[in-house]
Symmetry: C2
Subunit: 315 residues, 2 copies
């Protein structure tokens, strides 16, 4: 077997700018919605009592990827990341391994990028200010990608004031309260999903919400009653209704399939976006392997073009 | 992230003898049957027109693995292996990546090993001679593992006489015809599964058959009528009835769940093995991630004990 390039965290983040990640992720949703890219459902492997693993395959543009990624929410107490793992990239033509890629950097880029794509498609045309609720790794990248998409300035809120201050400093924005963040035009929530941070009483005409935190059963960042009062969009209905922000409202009978539009259908013009400037839109991001594929495609392109160097491994 | 050990093909095959592979795979089946090890169903990602990918997760003994493996049957025409990929090994306690492992060597070892375990459990007590039908990579490892379990000598058959002669030479056995191979006590078939190599007329009292080649929909190595005439065993009913040797007989209504015993239930004494010396037994191996986990567990043990060295990679 030939040597396989290995892209570590620093290499990925050097190779791909937030702006490029946004374009690639947008394109990935378009290809998937158009049937060009394939994505079987992700598989969960429980690892009680601390977390779980997800195996996420996708195929498109001549590549087949498998993302093997953890969620161990209490890991930071032990100084370890919540999200760890690797993405295996293979040729879809003959199966040959083409690359191994750090999972944290790709996940951060593609999660931040979809917040920007959703804002571009679903927020009011005149939306500018951004509230970030939850300033951990993915909140940071949501902020970086929204800023790269020329949104902001905005307000960063986190129960840990140091985290909020750090992100606000990085972006040149302000740190503030949850209420300050929710008063912005575009609000992106990236919390652990263990309690609601968006209540029905927080909704205002014209608001756009992107909910990134609920990526598995039992997690939610908004009250079901709040969810049910918005115009609903998601990345993938199957994932969102079973293990996303929509799940609580679906289980309560407040929301059904017909109430929810997939982002790819908005991007391809199959379905409309927000109904008007006064609507409240909510985008539920559960995280799709096609987003990871989009970033890997960009990474391999940069490598082939000589814009990034990689280590190698022999298998 | 700390450096991750990488075990290439040569390292795996040096570290783990066929005899150890057999013991480990046996233990893996016991742990899985006892509910100690977990294994969600494998996921297929089609890659038309040439092949497919499988994502195979499993957890046990403190490890969680994901096997990302191809089947591209026509690859040898281009000088590439049918089976390529990588196994990601992580800690089940905190998700930390522990190793990356070559997929070919682990697949060969665990596939060969299960042929030996099945023979030990299901063949007649006085069974000795071995017929190998199909002398490619996995046929070779089935032969090596059966020999390590002190079966043989036997007969190697392949439509390519050179392949048969090579394996016979390696084992100190004979090359022969399909009929010669099928006249042995223990017959192991490892063909592409595109046409039957075991007919109803080949069955003789006391025969044990292990069918390794049918690992996906549409593949079969024995006529459904032959399958239906044997005492049936498999590694995993769900896989075997949908994409294994049993599938044709199940679809023809000749075989149902009650006719088939899982190997783990025989190993743990929950179910009997062959009914007597005159019975014909057939074991359908579809290939389980718990087998790969068993080999990886052994490999990491050898590494910790300093019996094997590995390269490293930084993610």
């Amino acid at each position: 077997m030939p040597d396989i390039p290995v892209f570590d965290q620093g290499t990925v983040l050097t190779a791909i700018s937030p702006r490029e990640a946004i374009e690639q992720v947008r394109e990935g949703f378009v290809e998937y919605a158009g049937g060009e890219w394939q994505m079987p459902p992700k598989v969960y492997l429980d690892a009680p009592p601390n977390g779980d693993f997800r195996a996420m395959p996708a195929r498109g543009a001549g590549l087949a990827i498998l993302k093997w990624v953890t969620s161990f929410p209490r890991n930071p107490e032990a100084g370890l990341p919540v999200v760890m793992g690797v993405i295996c990239v293979s040729s879809a033509a003959d199966g040959e391994p083409l690359a191994l890629v750090d999972v944290r950097s790709v996940t951060a880029l593609r999660t931040g990028a979809v917040a920007a794509v959703a804002a571009q498609e679903l927020a009011r045309e005149d939306a500018a200010s951004v509230g970030i609720v939850g300033c951990g790794l993915h909140g940071t990248w949501a902020g970086l990608c929204l800023a790269a998409a020329e949104y902001g300035p905005g307000v960063c809120y986190d129960p840990d004031p140091e985290a909020a201050g750090r992100l606000a400093g990085e972006l040149g924005w302000e740190a503030g309260t949850r209420e300050d963040a929710l008063a912005c035009d575009i609000v992106t929530c990236v919390t652990p999903g263990s309690e609601p941070v968006v209540l029905e009483s927080d909704l205002r005409p014209g608001l756009h919400l992107t909910m990134l935190g609920a990526d598995g059963p039992g997690k939610a960042e908004a009250e079901p009653a709040a969810v049910a009062k918005t115009e609903l969009f998601c990345d993938d209905w199957e994932q969102a209704c079973h293990g996303g922000e929509l799940t609580g409202a679906v289980e309560a009978g407040l929301v059904s399939r017909d109430d929810v539009t997939e982002l790819g259908d908005v991007l391809t013009g199959v379905a409309p976006g927000r109904s008007g400037p006064e609507a409240v839109t909510l985008f539920d991001s559960t995280g799709l392997a096609i987003q990871d594929l989009a970033i890997c495609l960009s990474l391999l392109g940069a490598h082939r073009a000589g814009r990034v160097t990689a280590g190698t491994v022999t298998l």
